[in-house]
Amino acid sequence: MPMKLLECDTLIPEREKHVYIKEAGEDTTQFLPLSDVATIPGSLSERGCAFCGAKLVIGGVLKDTIQMIHGPVGCAYDTWHTKRYPSDNDNFQLKYVWSTNVKEKNVVFGAEKLLKKSILEAFDEMPNIKRMFIYTTCATALIGDDPKAVARTVMEERPGVDIFVVECPGFAGVSQSKGHHVLNMAWIHEKVGQVEPVITSPYTMNFIGDYNIQGDTEMLAQYWKKLGIQVLSHFTGNATYDECRSMHRAQLDVVNCARSAGYIANELHKTYGIPRLDIDSWGFSYMSLGLRKIGDFFGLQDKVEELIAEEEAKWKPQLDWYKERLKGKKMAIWTGGPRLWHWTKAVEDDLGMEVVAMSSKFGHQEDFEKVIARGREGAIYIDDGNELEFFEVLAMVHPDVIFTGPRVGELVKKLHIPYINGHAYHNGPYMGYEGFVNMARDIYNAINSPLWALAGQDIQKGEQQ
């Protein structure tokens, strides 16, 4: 079937290039949704901004770094606490939010002095913290502030501190994706190679594109410890600023989220010759495959087999219990981009579910190549879906559960369809073996919750219904 123009898109027919329904015998040389392009005016997009992609997704995860957001306070508040990535140092990065709180007078007269004052004030208030990210936002980029110059001055005045500037205002790109790109490229060019790590194992790697959502990083860290692999840098789950400056010494880059961090893995290969190994960390089959690949690279096959046997013995019976009860249930995945292709076969192979519709906010065509190759025939694949499209798709495929973000989640809850937070999870972690059982449990609980039926009752009618 060619690209699909949904009925709700009659007045914005350009949307036809963004919606695809897979049929037998087709491949991505025939049909591939247009993506990573500007949202069509009139389409009620669910996308975030480029600044958000840099701050909320990647930079804000670092556990020892002040995140100074140079702009109006809303830019800081709205990218704080909306994603749950804890850390093993008492969640410093979740407890605090920093903003230069730019006002109208700063827009008129410039905000560099305000920025410097805010930087010094933050370091003075938190004397144990010596690392900082500064982000430009739409307002401070438009008035032409030069935060890099301010950062240089502060670093000269205070030799112990190190500051990284992310120049990616919200308007810089069509979605969050631009922020991932800008942060990746600036970090590799400006900061990687500045810190020499202490090597404690003959096997070293970076784990790239995992942000410790509800403890994912810590879940996987157990495996690396058992295998004797030293992770020099998690980019950026539960990581420190300086760990991420020492990425250049790793023997291997293992990439989970290729969309948000594939760039830095490519650049590490180009500059330092570190090979890039992409894996999926969700699902039993995928996790085992990824571990076996890492074992093959380092020559640790026996240890990997032991680990897999141990984990499967512990968690497979629970997974099977859920699989028996979730078999044939229909699921929709409306998230950022990569989780479409990470999850579609994982839930189909390991839980027997059917993924019937997928929508990506910021995926590129590369992500659609992956998900169309992995996804089932008859499924609907959408780029930058809008609210009316979501309603229409629900009527077409009737999913039993939807993985999406809180914004769309509120929408589907009103239709009494169970939703699970596909970005920050409900009760994670979801990665690894134990994590995938958590995910299965959340799906089971969501589908079987009595709340959906109760929510549909009109309490004003009392017992007469």
Binding site: T28, T29, F31, Y263, N266, I274, P275, F297
Partner: protein, 111 residues
């Protein structure tokens, strides 16, 4: 469906290395992994000394194991027959993921 087509469908569903962002990386992975998978399946000697070769080995070794269990006709092929199927699959894969790909970003210098 030909055996090469079946192999391509399998690889498309299971392997992330064919989908790297840049055309040159995709070609390098396809040409690094598939010939090595052939050697692993047929027991031919191979070397994996450089970091890139070891990474290709990790992908090829798993692909060989997965294909052996999922494509039962593989075992019945002669060495020459397998060489033909894998080389056919290699060409088809390059067509899908590089030469005829609709992905407009494959050759962007700044990707």
């Amino acid at each position: 469906m030909s055996q090469a087509d079946e192999m391509v469908t399998f690889i498309q569903e299971h392997c992330l290395w064919q989908f790297f962002s840049r055309a040159s990386d995709r070609e390098s992975n396809i040409n690094g992994v598939l010939p090595l998978a052939f050697k692993i399946i047929t027991g031919e000697p191979y070397k994996c000394e450089t970091p890139d070769e070891r990474c290709h080995f990790a992908n090829a070794n798993r692909l060989a194991a997965q294909m052996k269990s999922s494509l039962p006709w593989l075992e019945g092929l002669t060495k020459e027959g397998l060489a033909d199927v894998i080389s056919g699959a290699q060409g088809k894969l390059e067509n899908i993921t590089v030469k005829h790909s609709l992905n407009g970003e494959l050759n962007l210098p700044g990707y």
